[in-house]
Amino acid sequence: MDKLYWQSLDHYKDLKEQSNPDKVKPEPEFSIEGLDESEIKGKSSRRDFLKMLGFSVSAVALVSSCQMPVRKAIPLLNQPSDLIPGVPNFYASTFYDGNDYCSILVKTRESRPIKIEGNDLSKITKGGTNARTQASVLNLYDDARLKNPRLGKVDSDWETIDRDVLNKLQDARESGKKVVLLTPTIISPSTRQLINEFISEYPNISWIQRDTINYSAMRKANELNFGQRIIPNYHFDKADTIVSFNADFLGNWLLPVAFTKQFSTKRKLTDQNKELNRLYQFESNLSLTGSNADYRFTIKPSEESAVLLNLYNEIARATGANTFLAPVTTIDVSKAANDLIASKGKSIVVSGTNNLNIQLIVNAINHLLGNYGKTIDTTKPIHLNQADEADMQQLVKDMNAGKISGLLVYNTNPAYDEADTESFVNGLGKVAFKVSFAETLDETAELCDFVCTTHNFLETWDDAQPIEGSFSFTQPTIRPIFNTRQFQDNLIKWMGLDMDYASYMEQHWKSMLSQHEEVMGNFTDNWNKLKHDGVFQHEEDDSAQATFTEQALKATEPLAEGIELALYEKISMGTGKYANNPWLLEMPDPITTATWDNYVCVPIDLAEEKSLKYEDVVLVNGAFELPVIVQPGQASGTVSIALGYGRISAGMAGNGVGKNAYPLLHTKNGFTNNTGTVVTIEKVAGKTYELAATQIHHNMEDRPIVRETTLEKFKENPISGNEQHIIDEKNNVTLYSKVDYDGIHWGMTIDLTSCTGCANCVIACQAENNVPVIGKDQVRKRRIMHWMRIDRYYSADPENPEVHHMPVMCQHCDNAPCENVCPVAATNHSDEGLNQMAYNRCIGTRYCINNCPYKVRRFNWYEFANNNKFDYNMNSELGKLVLNPDVIVRQRGVVEKCSLCVQRLQSKKLEAKRENRALVDGEVQTACSQSCPTNAIHFGNLKDENSVVVQDNKSDRMYHLLEQLHTLPSTSYLTKVRNKES
């Protein structure tokens, strides 16, 4: 079965030869297959991958007729157990990059991963994903990946590397010199054990974990309060009132996917349930969480502790606990306090600030409210972000002092994302031998003598324990594409063991499971089941909650003078690890809708004061220049910059995009903070920088687009906010009889109350439908190709606006205006209510684009595939492997748009027919509805009376976008309800 992959790879090489003209060897299969001609025509084709790989693969795949594509990786039961060309296999796996965690299913075709979906079996992420997870599949096909291990600056082979490194290590052991293994937080039990064994093999090696985003203050606070250095587990699904200080728990904080899932369960209104949770957000920059808050307060970072302490005191007074002296603030926390008290034990207070005092206060409040053991669980702590940054600081000192003779860096990039990069780099210069375990040649790897190139996570074996007792597994879904080796395998090899990590892990689990024989029974069965499910919940009787010991609380922070900086992670870019992922680079930010760059978010008053406009350029701290976005909801006296940009060694797409803001991290008494640095902002006169934003008008112009109401009004009258619907329904009269569908009429509903605007669906759609990446300039020209967009509107007070997120894709109108105007009948209506688009019939008059009131149709302005002008994944032989073979790559000059993932519908229908059964509601899912972490998007058959969509359509909150046009969309929206008093 090795053959399988090498074959496909050989083939992949053939491809390369095919594509370069000087040595085309005539292969009849290709001359008549799509590729050559398609390249002459400059027309890239759907299955051209399949055509090349497919057949040779199928051939060999079938030699190993029924063998698993990869070792004993076991796909889901309802998937075919053998690799059949043209039939997708799903493998359960886990995405963990040292920061984000998500339990996933990997969809493979012809044994190559093409799409990532959430794993419903996971108790943590519950089938949700976020944009970064969705996009991570593209990293596998990144041209920036290293193809071989590197010795110095040149490619090498593993023998040499092993020999040399081993020598170095042994020398160091002999001479007892200090060597440090630097990793991100490792949540894999097996790996942890392995590392410990490795260290016992090399006692001179000490192991340091470091996180890009630090939570050590939180752990410290808990250590003081509970005696354990932990991050407790949060249950937002049990909380009625959530008060969050600078914690973007829907976007980036700790376990965003899990938290979004939990949060959204309390954001669903049905005939039975008419209650919502209430979210208070105190923050400096408008985060995704903030944009979903019912009540949002803008505070300066330096105010936070004071505000928190006031909140504490309010609650303390009410509950008769002892209060502390707190400075007076302008922020009125009484309302939040009342709500919290009202929902004692059913509330959560969190802070994303890495500051001991603040975290202590937060804990104290939660303690007062009796949330521990109810909404917050200390018995099953979260294992993410375990690092203690003191270690790292110590390490840097030691390195500079020359105390460190060797450094092994795995999957972390301090040369880029350290607050004080300089001293680290200097220190690194003083280290005798430096080994990097990296996938790409990142800033740190560049400085190392050895680069032991590692697998992509889709090529590796691993396990993970993000939360105590909850495990999940990573299994390879493709053979290593390049001459790489998994980090753990290196350690094993250097320990002189003769095994690979897979079997090591298996052993580890054998021993682990053996403790639970009675629960588990036969190991092999379990082992297979585990790998099949990808998750394993280890239910143990709850040990008692840790006891709370009070600490003195104080608001240390003096109100800072000058402009305070609040750095933040973008939903798309995160920490910048995937800065070379074009999908993420081109993903519009849910708040600013800007793509490709980072920028300074400036509050309105400051903008007036400094006479700054959108796209003016400012000099930040005299260090670097960035364009300005005047951001409603930015706390006055603060500015915000996104982290994760300004990579210099990320790869073709990512290099030099934006500016690196990590040097502006705020380090105070040993804790590194995103917020709090005081910066200076000077306008660079006469200089502007055009941002690639996908939306320039932010006001709804009083049009009934996003219809909203408050919970109170909703309870009184469910139609509130949706009165327009009744009027429009009345006014809609027509000459023609309404078309009736037989059997199937696909429909979709989007619940604006649940939707958080996380833009996960956008990337899911892009991955599923081969949507091209078009680059900064084209986005500036307002030509972004995404079939699905998240419209964002502001309303109310510009200083602190209400934010509306609205996913818009093709509404599949029954009276579609676009259909009437296509001269060549390229777009018309299907028997299943789809507004279908036949690309190969389209001649590109673009009339349909004009006549679409929702403006969801996209035009292929250029050849976006196989075109050096658009040198992204679709122009790279490697990158093209991510294309979905069921969906054609559209040619230049044709119009495209959301097809409701017709390929998925068709395959499910076929499945049903083959199994001679009716379709089950919910089994057919589009990419967006499938991936939505809040289940805001429902999809189904409007002809099926019991389907979810039909129920939704009966709701009083249901309305169609622009329904007064009588386009009769198959997509409907449910009004947004905010949990506010009105």
């Binding site: 074959q7 009849p28 027309k43 084709s45 051209d48 053998d82 059949i84 037989d742 969906v887």
Partner: protein
């Protein structure tokens, strides 16, 4: 002769490999096994590797297999042996090891069908064996007779193509002549004669151009040379091997799948000498297998990139016979594309073909069911359930 042909044709149409006159016989033997005819048909696939009492072939001799193993296990194993093997079933693994790891390809037989086959093995086997012997001979001969026709047919169609070109050239010449006479040498006094000729010639040549233009990118009668001279006539025609024995993903996947060398080896472990080519061609296969390199067959039937075609939809759900699109493959030595695979060709079929409306999937089509109930409709065509929609094939 004609009679023969038609008889054979109708016989070959029958799914799998049915043997003439044999049913009646069978039915007399054991009425209790009404299904045995079908069972036999299915078993023909097995025959490639198994005998009943004929000793080992690729796979074990199946005589008395029903005594040896319990039915449940057998059914499981026959339906998908690899599942069992992967599940680590000791017996399954043992057999797998014993018969040098040649996998028995999975199939989609129902439990009943398998039981039937088992019954068939128990008793009918021997009789069948004898009968098969003869009839296969007959069939083979008659097929041989039949071949001439297909060859002729194909040849004729090729002729048409050549005719087209000839006509075109002729017309061009005519046009030139007419013009020449009209303008320079004014031999024909009646001006209208050359003019009429001109017009007619232009029209005809235009017609030819149109025909040729529409055939651009199409490859009717395409018959490439294959790396291995493989005769479908011998395999599908004379040896009566079911198409889906080799192209066994046809009813699971969009691709019918080009058979892996391993499948060839199932038989060619034993059969080392071909009827026509002797050892040379088979040797290629064996080498390929031993060197672990797949044979790079030339794909004959190609659709444009913007067309999505799914074999399982047509073969499995639509219960269509392979020959309906691929022609009488069992009469072709080298495969030739008989149909032009144009959109019109697809649509025409969608407009005329009946769907298996009994399929539970169609229960939701209430209106159609009513119409059938009250007799407005006698049958449901593919187009009635959206067979003419663009996005059935283009997405």
């Amino acid at each position: 002769m004609i009679f023969n042909v038609s008889v054979i044709k109708s016989l070959l149409r029958l799914k799998g490999l049915l043997l003439s006159g044999f049913f009646t016989l069978l039915l007399f033997i054991n009425l209790s096994y009404g299904q045995t005819a079908e069972a036999e048909a299915n078993f023909a696939v097995c025959k490639a590797c198994h005998t009943i009492g004929g000793g080992k072939l690729v796979g074990p001799d199946l005589q008395g297999v029903t005594e040896r193993r319990d039915e449940a296990w057998l059914i499981k194993f026959i339906q998908n042996s690899q599942e069992l093997i992967n599940a680590g079933d000791p017996e399954a693994v043992k057999i797998f090891e014993e018969y040098n790891k040649i996998p028995m390809p999975p199939n989609n037989l129902t439990d009943d069908q398998v039981r039937d086959i088992l019954l068939y093995i128990e008793n009918g086997g021997v009789v069948a064996g004898a009968e098969v012997g003869e009839t296969e001979q007959e069939v083979a001969e008659e097929v041989a007779v039949e071949d001439a026709d297909t060859e002729l047919l194909v040849e004729m169609k090729r002729e048409d193509a050549r005719h087209l070109q000839a006509t075109f050239i002729a017309m061009v010449v005519l046009i030139l002549l007419a013009l020449f006479d009209l303008l320079v040498t004014k031999i024909i006094k009646q001006k209208w004669i050359p003019i009429v000729i001109l017009i007619i010639a232009v029209i005809i040549s235009g017609e030819v151009i149109f025909i040729e233009a529409t055939n651009l990118g199409r490859q009717q009668y395409y018959q490439p040379e294959q790396p291995v001279w493989f005769s479908h006539k011998v395999h599908a025609g004379q040896n009566q091997i079911d198409c889906k024995y080799c192209h066994f993903t046809a009813d699971k996947s969009m691709h019918s799948g080009i058979p892996p060398v391993a499948v060839c080896m199932n038989c060619h472990n034993q059969v080392k000498k071909g009827k026509i080519t002797g050892e040379t061609e088979i040797a290629k296969v064996i080498d390929a297998y031993n060197n672990g390199e797949p044979i790079e067959w030339v794909k004959v039937h190609n659709l444009p990139d913007h067309v999505y075609f799914n074999h399982s939809q047509h073969v499995n759900v639509g219960k269509m016979d392979c020959t309906e699109c691929h022609g009488d493959v069992e009469k072709m030595d080298e495969i030739i594309q008989v149909n032009d695979l144009s959109m019109g060709w697809c649509i025409d079929c969608h407009r005329t073909k009946e769907v298996n409306f009994a399929n539970k999937f169609y229960d939701q089509y209430k209106q159609l069911h009513e119409e059938i109930a009250n007799g407005e409709k006698s049958k449901v065509l593919v187009t009635d359930v959206g067979g003419e929609d663009c996005q059935r094939c283009h997405y």
